[in-house]
Structures are given as C-alpha cells and as structure tokens.
C-alpha cells in the first residue's frame, strides 16, 4: 500500500482550498480509504477549524519537522471518521519553518500506512506553495468563476508544469448556475477555454457549506444532509480514486423564456 499525495492549491486566496481539502479528505475517508490531511499553511492555520479538530491539537507539522515529537503524536484521528487524520500547521511560526524536502520526508513516512495524503496549500506562489507541492503526486487547482481567480489559477498551472508535477486538474468552486444561465457569470466552458486542463469537479455555491464550515463538520462527512455540494465533493473524491462519474447537472430549472434568453446571450 502506497499513498497518493494530492495537493490542493489555487494561487488566489479565499477560493475554497481549505473547505475542499476537508471535504475531499472526508469523502475519501467515508469511502473506506485511510486518509491524512496536512495543513501546509503555517502561520495561518485553518484546516483544523474547518474539520472541527482545533481543540485536540497538541503537536503540529513544525514540531514533527524540528523533532519535538514523533509523526504519530502530531496526527489527530477524527473520532467521527476513524479513517481520517489531520496533521495541523503551526500557528506561531511562518512558512520558512518548513522546507520542501521536509514535506517530502514527512509524506514518505506516511505513504506506507495511508491511501491518501491531502495537502492544503497556502495562497500565493512563494515558499508555502512550494512546500505544499514538493511531495505531490497529483495537484488539484481550485478556482472560482472570477477573472482574478482564473488568472491566478493559470499562473499556478504553469508553475506546476515547471515543477514537473503533471498538468494538474481543475476544480471550479462556487459556481451559481442561475447566474451562468443569465450570462452574468463565467461558465465552466469559458473557464476551461482559458485554462485548458482536465476538470475533476464543479462545486455549486451552497449555503450549507458555510454553515457546516462554521460548525467544523465537513458536509461530505457521511454524506451529511445530502446537499448538492456534498454530492459534488463525493464525486471529486470518486474521480480522484479513478472512478468514472458523470458531472452533476447544474442547469437551473427555469422557464422557457430564461432559457431562450441565455441561448441568445451565449451566442
């Protein structure tokens, strides 16, 4: 058994890297995979909060790297999903506390006992980003349907290629099908037209994500509450695992007039 290391990154901040990391990790765990999520955003740690494990942190990634604890001691097991683990980031240090080779070393030690290692990358293209992608076998690039996020994603894809980390796969997050239909938001096709990479998921905007994030309970956990976003996360996890899953039909249920209008706008 050798784990695959998957890094979730975006360039731009606030597009949903951490939420996606938590939910993909959780969805994979609910499929029976052994998963560890690593927060590489040292100094601005969030993943523990989103996963609801903040109060159980004793040691963190920097403690492992600097030898203050064993790897095992810093791994927090999620009680709700025994297959799911978290290695939190340090909050009191910065990105320079860890080097790309440290990350490779940590992941190599985990490979034997895990199926998936999901790394949450910080925003930006500096040291933190380089730490996060150094051990990656596969990189997932997250973007929103906004020009600025797409521009950053494009840059990130270029950097990933330069690091010889493969082409990367794209997740489009927070898409609003109604706005796309009205021609007020970039569509999946528009985004793919610029970025030209393979798509692994489209996550619709969903209030339940914000609610669950605040509760520290990933929506993908045990397919909680069956929201459409939760389904989309499950699908990303399945595709990551090599399954063929059709993309969700996100076309809004609107009247004939709207559909006609969007058809005209689309020309």
């Amino acid at each position: 058994m050798s784990a695959r290391v998957v890094t979730v990154t975006s360039g731009k901040g606030g597009v949903g890297k951490t939420t996606l990391t938590a939910n993909i990790a959780s969805a994979l765990a609910s499929m029976g995979k052994k998963v560890v999520a690593i927060d590489a955003d040292i100094g601005l740690r969030n993943l523990d909060v989103v996963m609801g494990l903040e109060n159980r942190i004793v040691y963190d990634l920097v403690d492992i790297v600097e030898g203050r604890c064993r790897l095992r001691q810093a791994m927090i097991r999620d009680k709700r999903q025994p297959n799911l683990h978290l290695i939190p980031a340090a909050q009191t240090r910065d990105k320079m506390a860890v080097s790309p080779s440290d990350m490779i070393l940590v992941c190599d030690q985990l490979r034997d006992e895990m199926d998936y290692i999901i790394i949450d990358s910080p925003a930006g293209i500096e040291r933190g980003f380089r730490n996060a992608i150094a051990p990656a076998d596969q990189v997932l690039v997250v973007t929103n349907p906004e020009i600025s996020a797409i521009r950053d994603a494009d840059r990130i894809i270029g950097l990933i290629e330069a690091e010889e980390k493969g082409p990367g796969r794209l997740i489009i997050n927070r898409i609003k099908p109604e706005m796309v239909a009205r021609g007020n938001m970039l569509s999946v096709e528009d985004i793919l037209d610029v970025l030209a990479v393979s798509l692994i998921g489209v996550i619709p905007e969903d209030e339940s994500i914000l609610i669950s994030t605040n509760q520290g309970l990933p929506v993908a956990m045990n397919g909680a509450n069956g929201s459409i976003a939760s389904q989309a996360f499950q699908n990303v996890a399945l595709r990551l695992d090599g399954k063929e899953v059709p993309f969700l039909d996100l076309t809004p249920q609107t009247g004939l007039l709207n559909r006609f209008r969007s058809w005209i706008d689309g020309r």
Binding site: R130, R151, D154, R155, G158, L159, E161, E164, V194, A196
Partner: protein
C-alpha cells in the same frame, strides 16, 4: 582556480556590466555571472538588478554561477537580493558540486527541465557559454534567429528573445512575449506581445485569434477595441502611418 577565459577586457559597451549578463532563454531569463571576487559580484548584481528591475519583473530567473564554489549562506544572500527586487530565483546552474548541493538545500532547482544538463544539474558544454554574451547578438541576429515554443504560455511566463518568436500554442492573459523581430502565435493571443522591441518599426504580430490585452510594436502601444474579441479569425498587426492596426489575414495567390 579561476577559469582561463573572460577577464573583461574584450567587452566594448561601457553601460553593459561585464560581470553580469542577462539573456532570455526558454525557461525565463538566464543571468550569467563572470569571474570576479564574491563581494564585487554582489555589488555588481545589485546594481544590475536595481537598474533593470522593472524590465525583469515577473520573469523566472535562472542564475548561472560557473564553477565557483558558493556556500549556502552566500546563495541565500543572493536569493534574498532577488527577493528584495521582487524577482524569484528558481534555478542555480553550477559546475561545482558543492554549490549545487547548497542550492538544493535552499529548495532551488539545479537543472532546467528537459535542458542540456544531466540529472545532477551539471551543465553540459553547450549550455554554458558565458563569453558569447548579449553584445554579439543584439544587432546582428534579427531576421537570422528564431525561437520556436511549442507550448501554451500561461500567466506569469515571460519570453524574451532578440530575434523572431513563434509560439505554437496560446498566449494567456498575464503572459508576455517580447521579441526583437516578429511574433507569430499559432493559437489564441490573449496576453501581451511586444514585437520589434529593439525599435524595428516593420515588425509584425500574427495570431490565429488576436485578442490581446495589449500589443506593442517598436515604441507604439495599442489596446484592441472591445468588439475585437468576437472575431476568431487569423489576423496580422503592424504599423501603418505611425499606428498599430490589425487586419484579417488575406491569403495571397
């Protein structure tokens, strides 16, 4: 143990630093350092970066240090110097094993992807010719040498070449292509292209789909009108009566 060639006498142009030469390569910009004591080198490099910062910005930097043995602290000092100028140093090309080891410790690459170096990062002879320098190419080469890239240039990529540039692929927004000669994009041009950057008014820019953020030819700058983006036909941009204009490509018989 200095290398025998390049002492600096033969350099003619006074304003060009003999110790630091910058030139565009496939992977970004290659900075080659000449032979001199380390201290002098740093001050020379600082001066060069100060002077050209605006021009260099956003490029991927590759530093060729020749066969000098640099400590980790020295390399990290150089790295900091680049950071201070808002430039990112990605790769150190070094002949000396100790320098390469130090570079790897700092998380820097020691070879260019798919380049003329072995896996260890040892430069094979053809990639290290510090003495040919930019002087010999700047005036003579236009029309003689071309650079062909078969890839899509994504945001943040910067290609500089003093001859013609042909890109088989797209040029995305945020990428820039700067050529002394013509630029041909066999794909969609959505970024910035500067043709005739050394002053050639007859330079042209061709693309299968011309919808750039900005076009520059010699010292002219143009921004395409809005309706432009809808036209997905091959076009050619050039200067006519002092202005950049674009025309649909007409096959001539």
């Amino acid at each position: 143990m200095g290398s025998p060639q390049a002492k600096g006498y033969w350099i003619v142009k006074a304003h060009n630093s003999p110790l630091v030469s910058i030139k565009g390569i496939r992977e970004g910009l290659l900075i080659t350092l000449g032979n001199c004591p380390y201290g002098e080198l740093i001050s020379e490099l600082t001066a060069e970066l100060d002077q050209k910062q605006a021009f260099l910005q956003g490029s991927k930097m590759v530093l060729q240090v020749g066969n000098r043995a640099l400590q980790r602290t020295q390399l990290s000092e150089i790295q900091t110097l680049f950071e201070q100028h808002e430039l990112t140093l990605w790769t150190i090309l070094a002949d000396h094993e100790r320098t390469r080891a130090a570079a790897r410790e700092l998380g820097l690459a020691t070879r260019l992807p798919g380049s003329q170096t072995d896996l260890e990062g040892k430069a094979l002879p053809s990639s290290s010719r510090p003495s040919s320098g930019p002087e010999s190419t700047s005036e003579t080469s236009i029309g003689q040498n071309g650079l062909i890239l078969k890839e899509t240039l994504r945001s943040g990529r910067s290609i500089y070449h003093d001859g013609h540039i042909i890109i088989i692929g797209d040029v995305n927004p945020g990428a820039e292509v700067i050529a002394g000669g013509d630029v041909i994009v066999w794909g969609r041009l959505r970024g910035l292209v500067h043709a005739g950057a050394l002053g050639d008014l007859s330079a042209v820019i061709c693309a299968l789909h011309l919808s750039p953020t900005q076009l520059r030819i010699a010292d002219q700058i143009a921004v395409p009108p809005d309706e432009y983006q809808r036209r997905a036909i091959p076009e050619q941009a050039f200067i006519r009566s002092g202005q950049i204009i674009a025309e649909p490509w007409q096959p001539r018989t």
